[in-house]
């Protein structure tokens, strides 16, 4: 029964959430938990500073989610539906930026955009004599730009399968009605992609709301305070999980509101069936001379998404220290010391190996569970299944540290504690929202009759699921696997509390350099990590013709 499976997955998610929620009704800090009361909530709702912080958070999260998701959707449309020249390249270019972890993008862009020491302002002054400080990383715009770039992959990976399996008769009928290609794109193609688009948007918005690195690195110096810092202060300054959770509840409320809009927008799910049972071939649209512009768009994103920050990282990893002059002297001043340091790092190899296996497993399990859950909501008659829309997304409303406290409490005293299982379950809880939102957004694109045809021809739910839904969802499953694998392999936030002493879990050590602020070593580690991934993806793509949702 898909319902039982979903209920189990839901329970796995809800348990740590309920545990921390229960904590939020107790007063006192870690080590002193006593009493059941509303102290924490009184403090949260009596906090007069949270409104401006919330409004900053919403501007920042909504801004970057919109920027990233729209850009991602646009790229997906270009790749899937247009006759943009250089098809093989155009398909490949948007994949690479996904490989670069957001924290690396953060640091590279700070180096590029810092007002006085930033490379871009330096170049403007150096080559064009412009003295005005044009770029400033420490502004809301800077934050939205950097995190927005980190939001593109989800938009791209969620929308690509929709555009790739689009029944062209839906568009053709618009052409016949006299609509031109661009008009059709806005009036027909994009509206039909609303479920997947909104799904990615909701995810990116919640990621933005709880994201911490960008606000800390760029917001604090710009005196832009975001809400999530209250949650972190509760943990880091007061060591009060209950209070942190009570603050997180505000984020939960926000995500419930966001999800409500998502559910409303997709409530007539039949409307969005772009994969129909009428045999059809996906058609590429001739967009005329615009195709050079779309190529340029893909290329510019490739530049901003990975090339530019990657170049910065490469240079930073090889120069003795970073300032504008030293940067510009490259490569005459290049040294490889940082690479020796990183390669000598005790757990660079073993950690990477451990996390490789775990990440693959987690990606497969979460993606399957996510689809089962979406299947339960949209394909079975289970009453109240819509509640999974909330449950499946809920963990994203909690900052990782809060969530992992819940997991910690659950596992303590059980044989699972300090085992790989606990870490696995933790990552499952952390990544299910991504898998689920992806599945929820794409399952409504499959015409219901494809399932029903299987039902009436003797298929049980498991047959429908494994033989119909899953194979048809293959492109989006591929994308989700790819994304979750890439994310899980570099997870630090959730993994850290659940890692057993003496067990090395790759990213904790690999990204430790970023955490401790040794940017040069971090850059070197990042460069090695990225080169491995880029080679792997390119080989997979060309040699094995593997399709990452392509």
């Amino acid at each position: 029964m898909p319902l039982i499976a979903s209920a189990l997955a839901g329970a796995a998610i809800m348990t740590p959430v309920l545990v921390v929620m229960w904590r939020s009704f107790t007063s006192g800090k870690l080590g002193f938990t006593v009493g059941l009361n509303l102290t924490n909530y009184l403090r949260v709702f009596g906090d007069k500073d949270i409104l401006p912080m919330l409004s900053n958070s919403v501007v920042y999260a909504a801004g970057s989610a919109l920027l990233g998701t729209v850009l991602g959707a646009f790229l997906a449309w270009i790749v899937a539906r247009t006759n943009t020249p250089g098809k093989a390249l155009v398909e490949l270019l948007p994949l690479y930026p996904i490989l670069m972890p957001p924290i690396m993008k953060n640091i590279a862009w700070i180096l590029l955009l810092a007002p006085r020491s930033g490379i871009l302002n330096g170049m403007l002054q150096h080559f064009f004599g412009i003295e005005t400080l044009v770029f400033n990383a420490f502004t809301m715009a800077g934050m939205v730009w950097v995190f927005g770039l980190a939001c593109v992959p989800l938009g791209y990976l969620f929308l690509l399968p929709v555009f790739l399996s689009f029944d062209p008769s839906l568009e053709e009928s618009a052409y016949i009605a006299g609509s031109k290609p661009v008009n059709t794109m806005f009036k027909i193609t994009f509206p039909l992609a609303i479920p997947a688009f909104t799904s990615a948007l909701v995810l990116n918005f919640l990621r933005g709301l709880r994201s911490f690195e960008t606000p800390v690195l760029q917001g604090t110096p710009g005196n832009i305070k975001v809400f999530v810092s209250r949650v972190y202060d509760s943990m880091a300054l007061e060591f009060n999980t209950g209070l942190a959770t009570a603050y997180s509840v505000v984020l939960v409320v926000l995500s419930v509101i966001t999800l409500y809009f998502y559910i409303r927008a997709t409530r007539f799910s039949e409307r969005y069936a772009t994969i129909t049972g009428k045999g059809y071939r996906v058609k590429v649209i001739d967009i005329g001379p615009w195709k050079y512009l779309t190529f340029l768009a893909v290329f510019l994103y490739f530049l901003a998404g990975i090339v530019l920050p990657f170049i910065v990282l490469i240079v930073v990893s090889m120069i003795p220290y970073f300032d504008y002059d030293t940067f510009m002297q490259f490569p005459s001043n290049a040294v490889l010391t940082n690479y020796y340091t990183v390669m000598r790092h005790p757990s660079f190899v073993t950690g990477l190996y451990n996390s490789l296996i775990l990440s693959v497993t987690i990606a497969i399990v979460t993606v399957l569970a996510g689809i089962v859950m979406a299947f339960t909501i949209y394909r079975t008659r289970a009453a109240g299944a819509k509640v999974f829309e909330f449950i499946g997304t809920l963990p994203l409303a909690f900052p990782p540290l809060v969530l992992s406290v819940g997991l910690l409490i659950i596992f303590i005293g059980t044989p699972l504690y300090n085992s790989l299982w606990a870490l696995g379950i933790g990552l499952f809880v952390a990544y299910l929202p991504y898998a689920f939102r992806n599945a929820s957004g794409s399952i409504v694109n499959i015409h219901k009759e494809l399932d029903e045809a299987a039902w009436v021809h003797g298929a049980r739910w498991r047959h429908v699921f494994f033989k119909i839904t899953l194979p048809i969802l293959k492109p989006s499953v591929g994308g989700a696997l790819f994304y979750i694998f890439i994310e899980a392999i570099r997870n630090v936030d959730v993994a850290v509390l659940l890692t057993a002493p003496g067990k090395e879990y790759g990213p904790v050590t690999l990204f430790e350099y970023f955490r401790v602020g040794q940017w040069a070593e971090a850059a070197a580690g990042g460069v090695i990590y990225l080169i491995i991934l880029i080679v792997a993806v390119s080989v997979a793509k060309f040699a094995f013709k593997m399709k990452f949702s392509l």
Binding site: G277, E452, A453, V456, H457, G458, A459, H463
Partner: protein
């Protein structure tokens, strides 16, 4: 033994009644459900397949209860052993023709050899031999339609449900497939429920027709009965070319009855009497406009129901011509198979006589 028995089926979508206490029995052959979109015919079909759960009522297939809300029985669709051909074909895009047709057989754990034999013979039957390795996207609309049919037939169901299976085909292909479909179903010898909104299709293909509107069954009969003896004004209006006028029964004369029609300048029309009728009943008078005769000079004495009117305009429609004739306060659109030479002489605006045979008139008592 009835292959299908439906009792008291109702289904509400919020305030809309999709099915309103629908009951009928069906034995064998092809039964069509005819009605405008939204009349509940598809909901009925899906309820029979188990894809919808009605709010009340019961459904039995071959005397076995499949759905009974009152008794809490709901046999899942996969256990009902029926075939279903969807309007959109619902072919699985990731499977070949062979894969699509073999799907149900594989689930029934048949041997590989048997599956292959069965798939091939079914594809043979629908005329798709040699295409088993194609994907649905490589087939024409008509071929896809046959695959959808083969997919159901391969499982040798007792009953096959077809939901507007031809609506996606072009007019010519549709007419061909109609005949072919009927032959095929008869050849296989199974019973079929056929949902359509096209009365020509319904009449061509089926042994019996159910006309539905607003979730209710209005009439269940042979195509001839439905066409010539509509029991409901809606049926008359929906089926074929008919004009409806209000009337009042004047008297009954044996098998015939005389009806006064105020719209036709108070003319009295003679028609075959319905089963239950009494003088003084208000009624709807249904005139089959394709059966109406036109004449410039008038008709011999003793011709049924001769009326006088004015020709207002004509529309030539290929083999057919619509003649608009104003009779009293009513405009009658008479469809004839050829242009009437007398009328051609006189042109529009000329005086025209109309004759309606009593067999072309039905009287539906409305009280």
């Amino acid at each position: 033994m009835a292959i299908l028995k439906v009792e008291g089926l109702s289904k509400f979508y919020k305030d809309v009644k999709a099915l309103d206490n629908v009951s009928f029995e069906f034995d064998q052959g092809i039964l069509s459900f005819l009605g405008p979109s939204g009349c509940g015919k598809t909901t009925l079909l899906r309820s029979i397949a188990g894809l919808e759960v009605p709010d009340t009522g019961s459904i039995s297939i071959a005397d076995k209860i499949q759905t009974s809300i009152e008794r809490g029985i709901l046999v899942p669709p996969y256990s009902r052993a029926i075939g279903f051909v969807f309007q959109s074909y619902a072919l699985w895009p990731h499977m070949t023709v062979f894969g699509n047709v073999a799907f149900g057989l594989k689930l029934r754990k048949k041997s590989e050899e048997e599956i292959k034999r069965k798939v091939m013979s079914t594809l043979d039957l629908v005329g798709l031999q040699g295409r088993e390795l194609r994907y649905p996207s490589q087939l024409s609309g008509g071929q896809q339609q046959r695959v959808a049919l083969a997919r159901s037939l391969a499982l040798e169901p007792r009953l096959i449900l077809l939901d507007e299976p031809l609506s996606n085909l072009d007019a010519k292909l549709r007419e061909e497939m109609r005949v072919e479909l009927k032959k095929l179903i008869k050849k296989v010898g199974i019973s079929a429920l056929y949902v359509t909104h096209d009365q020509d299709e319904a009449f061509t293909i089926s042994d019996a027709v159910v006309v539905m509107d607003g979730g209710k069954i209005l009439q269940y009969g042979t195509p001839d009965e439905i066409y010539n003896r509509p029991l409901h004004p809606f049926v008359a209006a929906f089926v074929g070319h008919a004009a409806l006028v209000d009337g009042r029964v004047v008297r009954i004369e044996g098998d015939n009855c005389l009806v006064n029609v105020p719209d036709f300048n108070g003319a009295d029309l003679i028609s075959l009497a319905p089963k239950v009728v009494a003088a003084g009943d208000t009624c709807k008078v249904v005139i089959r406009t394709t059966e109406v005769k036109l004449s410039h000079d008038g008709f011999p004495k003793g011709t049924d129901n001769v009326l006088e009117g004015l020709m207002t305009s004509r529309e030539y429609r290929g083999g057919l011509t619509d003649h608009r004739v104003q009779i009293g306060s009513k405009e009658l659109v008479v469809t004839s198979h050829k242009l009437c030479p007398m009328i051609r002489v006189n042109g529009d605006g000329g005086k025209t006589f109309v004759s309606i045979d009593r067999s072309s008139i039905s009287v539906i008592v409305t009280h």
